[in-house]
């Protein structure tokens, strides 16, 4: 019998925090979403409520079937045939997200640091590192989080302090005067729909040392990650101005470029880049690991390592294919809409159907959690 890799609640909280932060760390889509003005940070804070509402079905099922991953309990809910289809859908979701993350990562690297390096080189170097980490398994990923996430979070906190003199907080005035109730809620919902990382949590449950802490992990990671997103949003808008921050492809990076303390601490965006690449590699490794794991579970295979290399190749070639055709960050549509709709289906629609099935056939699943 294979040993189940065990990870602590603390490690997973850190992982989910950084997974949620990666997108904002890179290009802050919230700035462009409604209300698109000085009240964006309020919409981001409000999104906590929407994320909780959105994740209720998946959280309920993951708590109820805490011996199973989302792939496994979906098979219980939907039956063998449809369960496999749903499982394949979730595996596909992980792959789609991985492709998107590699594309964004490579785009930023290509546009800012290595404009002459062919996409295939940057993409393959990044993804090869991620594949190696994913190959080593969940425990090294979680242990890595304990080392790297505090560094990443420190960068997010220290940079706004260093760049304080570049900020003009008066840009946030007047508060809630230029945005309607609908706009704020729309923005909060839009932002909540980006929390696809609940799927990672739903895959990780059986590996948790304390499975009963699932809700605690979810709430903690959601709360802290949202606070860090607010820090990034506020710093970028205060330093660049509301409109310029919206124009910028990488606003937090642009803000980092402004930092200059007494002509002594300057051009420190390289530290930002280290933190940013680390966070991206961490997220990509996790998604790669879970896409391999979900495929292995769909195929009823014990060993998910066999799937890592094929997954890596698929993700690498697909991201190079997309990246060489269009800008992912600069031209956000239709990619962003595809990701949002995918998240909506994966996080809300399918788990909601599964929840209805569970409630209708509750007696049937009474002893189902005993593996």
């Amino acid at each position: 019998m294979r040993r189940i890799e065990k990870v602590s609640s603390y490690q997973i909280t850190l992982l989910i925090i950084v997974y949620k932060l990666v997108v904002t760390f890179s290009y802050i889509p919230a700035l462009d979403s409604p209300p698109g003005n000085q009240d964006v940070w309020i919409a981001v804070l409000l999104s906590i409520l929407y994320v909780i509402l959105l994740c209720v079905p998946i959280l309920f099922l993951s708590n109820r079937f805490n011996n199973y991953t989302i792939i496994e309990y979906m098979e219980l809910m939907f039956g063998k045939f449809f369960g496999k289809i749903v499982g394949l859908f979730y595996s596909g979701v992980f792959v789609i997200f991985s492709i998107a993350f590699v594309s964004i990562l490579v785009e930023i690297l290509d546009s800012i640091f290595f404009p002459e390096v062919p996409t295939i080189v940057t993409a393959s170097m990044m993804i090869a590192s991620c594949a190696y980490i994913a190959y080593k398994g969940l425990e090294p990923i979680a242990r890595g989080a304990e080392i790297f996430v505090p560094f990443i979070l420190s960068v997010i906190l220290i940079f706004p302090i260093l760049g304080f003199k570049n900020m003009d907080f008066s840009v946030f005035l007047p508060i809630l005067k230029d945005s309607s109730f609908v706009q704020i809620n729309k923005g909060a919902m839009y932002f909540a729909l980006r929390f696809s990382d609940i799927l990672i949590l739903a895959m990780i449950v059986p590996n948790l040392e304390k499975r009963n802490e699932l809700n605690k992990i979810f709430l903690k990671s959601l709360f802290y990650s949202t606070l860090f997103v607010v820090v990034i949003v506020v710093a970028s808008q205060a330093a660049l101005g509301i409109e310029q921050a919206k124009h910028s492809n990488f606003p937090f990076f642009s803000f980092a470029r402004l930092i200059n303390i007494f002509d002594f601490i300057q051009r420190i965006e390289s530290i930002f880049v280290i933190a940013w690449i680390t966070s991206n590699i961490g997220k990509l490794s996790g998604y790669l690991y879970f896409s391999a794991k979900s495929f292995s579970q769909v195929m009823n295979k014990e060993d998910n390592k066999k799937f890592i290399v094929p997954m890596t190749l698929i993700i690498m070639f697909a991201s190079i294919f997309f990246k060489n055709r269009r800008s992912v960050v600069g031209t956000r549509q239709p990619i962003q809409n595809i990701l949002l709709i995918t998240t909506l289906i994966a996080v809300l629609v399918v788990p909601l159907i599964a929840l209805v099935i569970y409630l209708l056939r509750r007696k049937h699943f009474q002893n189902a959690n005993n593996k």
Binding site: I112, V121, L173, L240
Partner: protein, 413 residues
């Protein structure tokens, strides 16, 4: 068997490390210093619809003390033309042997003609290109061409770029100029509530009397004043009265000079019986805080500015007793009046001549009455031009320096 496995692993690891060595040498996107033309200053002009970019490129010098040092010039000046800024920059490679490397450029000077045509469209390249810095200073060359300023240095720095950068850093000693980076400009450019300003630069001829009555003319640059914009277009200039910096709460330092008050109260405190005529008082600003507000009374808009200055007595050439608390109060009042006059003057000039709110009173209106603002925002500049102005300045002289009476006075007489 296990030994073979270990051996296998070691070989794979060695191969991987060897591959990494090839990849990590940084062959791609590498920038060799001997292939780059490091730019310290860039001027932008427009002639017949064509953009002219002129760059000051550092000439690498041998170290001091070597036989060749001192013989070479510090910079080369290279010019490129094109329909766009980027094209003009790249066209320099047609005649100059190195690609212009703009990552260290901290000064952009735009000709007056170019700035009047509209600057916003051209900032796109500066913002889009990863090599350029958003922290670079933007200045408008008043009168003439911007490229005519190339090579002028009235200071210790040999490079014009470094010289101008130092002048901008010196603003904290005088507050008579403005320091505006690309980010500062863009922040205000997008805003309806405030219009942007940029730095101003112009040539200044100086005649220095040398020994034996021989006069020598030197040319330097001055950044005194500011350039006023309405959105992307230059509409005029301000002189260096500090009024703008006071209203915008951007005073970092400097001195305020005003005639020494000669009221009867001041006279009565003078111990000397001989009055030597009007003198001047100089107060050095140690701290300045401005609060802007707006009031609407029966549809009439009042722009309110409150300035609180803390300073120290820097110089006194009048014949007054600066150790007397009442005299100091009079000096404080005179200082406040002087600043008030400067602020009123600059606001009036902007209202009458440019009709563009560069002070950000629109922001105050927006904050105070958001709904009302939405109705008037499109006519704000016009409303601003006709608004009443109320300035209140309060000065506190908290130190008098190392002496308690002016040096021209004899104590006890």
């Amino acid at each position: 068997m296990e030994r073979n496995e270990n051996m296998k692993k070691k070989i794979i690891l060695t191969i991987l490390i060897a591959i990494q060595m090839i990849l990590l040498t940084g062959c791609w996107s590498s920038k060799e210093i001997n292939e780059l033309g490091i730019v310290t200053m860039l001027t932008i002009d427009i002639e017949d619809g064509e953009i002219i970019v002129t760059a000051e490129v550092i000439v690498p010098k041998p170290p001091m003390g070597s036989t060749e040092s001192g013989k070479k010039e510090s910079a080369k000046y290279v010019q490129g033309r094109g329909k766009s800024l980027f094209e003009a920059v790249r066209n320099t490679t047609l005649q100059f042997d190195r690609r212009l490397y703009l990552a260290h450029n901290q000064i952009f000077i735009l000709s007056e003609e170019f700035a009047r045509e509209g600057l916003a469209e051209y900032t796109d390249f500066i913002l889009r290109d990863h090599e350029l810095r958003e922290t670079a200073q933007l200045l408008v060359a008043k009168g003439g061409k911007a490229y005519e300023l190339m090579g002028i240095s009235g200071g210790i720095e040999e490079l014009s770029g470094a010289y101008i950068e130092s002048l901008v850093k010196n603003i904290k000693f005088n507050s008579k100029a403005v320091s505006v980076t690309l980010t500062d400009y863009m922040r205000n450019y997008y805003d309806v509530e405030i219009q942007p300003v940029l730095g101003k630069i112009e040539k200044k001829e100086m005649t220095i009397e040398k020994i034996k009555g021989k006069k020598e003319k030197t040319t330097g640059l001055t950044i005194e004043g500011a350039s006023v914009f309405n959105r992307g277009k230059l509409v005029g200039f301000l002189n260096g009265d500090r009024g703008y910096n006071f209203v915008r709460n951007k005073i970092q330092g400097g001195v305020i000079e005003f005639p020494t008050p000669q009221t009867s109260k001041a006279r009565s405190t003078i111990t000397s019986k001989i009055l030597k005529g009007n003198g001047n008082t100089v107060v050095e600003i140690t701290r300045s805080k401005t609060k802007n507000d707006i009031e609407v009374h029966d549809g009439k808009i009042i722009l309110k500015t409150q300035v609180k200055i803390t300073g120290m007595l820097g110089e006194e050439t009048g014949n007054i007793d600066t150790s007397n608390a009442e005299v100091l109060k009079l000096l404080e009042k005179s200082c406040s009046n002087q600043v008030k006059r400067q602020i009123e003057k600059v606001i009036k000039k902007v209202q009458d001549e440019y009709s563009t709110d560069i002070f950000g009173y629109g922001k105050q209106y927006h904050r105070k009455d958001s709904k009302g603002w939405n109705k008037i925002r499109n006519n704000w500049d016009d409303i601003f031009a006709h608004a009443e102005v109320l300035i209140d300045v309060n000065t506190e002289i908290v130190r008098t320096g190392l002496v308690n009476k002016p040096s021209s006075k004899v104590k006890g007489k």
